[in-house]
């Protein structure tokens, strides 16, 4: 009943909140949220284009676009190095960096590009990270990554950390494996969706100028959330490796 209230307002034509409405695709018996996949492909294509363009005509002394791309890679390298330490960070740069750039791209694609101009039969194009499925997938990937890191470094001895410092903490240590992906996914999902809903509500009240500061805050929050997610993923992997 609630989405209809939002839809009925004339001013929300460009910013209607359709939480829980999706553009379903039926792929081999599974229902997929098409609007999320479309924007994800868009983001992936943009990232691929940027990286291909950035690695063509590489020069010894970087200038212009190559300079920009190198500083971006330096940035994610710093994230990985700060958390993982000098000895392990190299092999985890691709994972941490991909997480950062993908989430960053998704958040900014949702915040900057006026997707509402493109009509879909149902649902609407928005940041892919405002769908809980995307964020849960990313968080589960992080879970697998730190299990892989721990198991490949220590073998079965990895599970010794569940009874440290004392065996009494076993339930809490096991619970932690479930709360980590839960909090990771909810944090990202909630932040992105909260921002879009705030903009929607403000736009339905005052369509001009007033929502602008919230939109700028959304751009800022999007980049901070990408940073947080990748930092936390690196921290969890470091915890499994230590």
């Amino acid at each position: 009943m609630y989405p209809e209230i939002f839809d009925s307002n004339m001013f929300t034509l460009l910013a209607e909140a359709s939480v829980g409405k999706h553009f379903y695709w039926n792929i081999a018996g599974f229902l997929a949220h098409g609007q999320v996949l479309l924007v994800i492909w868009f983001v992936v294509i943009i990232l691929l284009l940027l990286s291909v363009l950035g690695t063509q005509n590489i020069e010894r002394i970087p200038s212009g676009f190559q300079n920009f791309m190198e500083s971006a890679v330096d940035f994610v390298t710093d994230i990985a190095r700060d958390q993982l330490g000098e000895s392990f960070y190299k092999e985890w740069i691709p994972f941490i960096g991909t997480l950062f750039f993908f989430i960053f791209g998704c958040n900014w694609a949702g915040a900057i590009i006026p997707w509402k101009l493109i009509e879909l039969p149902e649902g609407e194009l928005a940041a892919p990270t405002n769908d809980i499925n995307t964020t849960v997938a990313l968080a589960l990937l992080t879970s697998f990554a730190y299990f892989y890191a721990g198991l490949s470094k220590k073998g079965l001895g990895y599970f010794k950390r569940y009874i440290q410092p004392i065996p009494l903490l076993l339930p809490i240590n096991i619970l932690e494996d479930f709360t980590k992906p839960l909090s990771l996914s909810f944090r990202l999902f909630g932040n992105v969706l909260a921002d879009e809903l705030t903009v929607t509500v403000l736009t339905s009240l005052v369509p001009l100028i007033i929502p602008l500061p919230i939109m700028i805050l959304g751009i800022f929050a999007g980049s901070v959330q990408a940073l947080i997610f990748s930092t936390l993923a690196a921290a969890y992997i470091a915890e499994a490796l230590e």
């Binding site: 909090s183 909810f186 932040n191």
Partner: protein, 82 residues
């Protein structure tokens, strides 16, 4: 949806986001105050303090976001909506 259930859901959604904003508000105020104190004492450490502050603020904000997720679940994906 039963009107009493929808009324209860709306009130609960308001309460969940409102109550979950109290704790992080106090915590973020504390953290920001301490960070300003640290910067005033040691201006050369500003960039490091700012980075850590932003990270910890986002952690605290996550608690409010959990309340928000509960509120959103009550409003848009109510499990008692039969």
């Amino acid at each position: 949806m039963d009107s009493i259930i929808s009324a209860a859901s709306v009130i609960a959604a308001g309460l969940s986001i409102g109550l979950s904003a109290i704790g992080p508000g106090i915590g973020q105020g504390n953290a920001a105050g301490q960070a300003v104190e640290g910067i005033a004492r040691q201006p050369e450490a500003e960039s490091k303090i700012r980075g850590t502050l932003l990270l910890s603020l986002a952690f605290m904000e996550a608690l409010t976001i959990y309340g928000l997720v509960v509120a959103l679940a009550l409003l848009f994906a109510n499990p008692f909506n039969v």
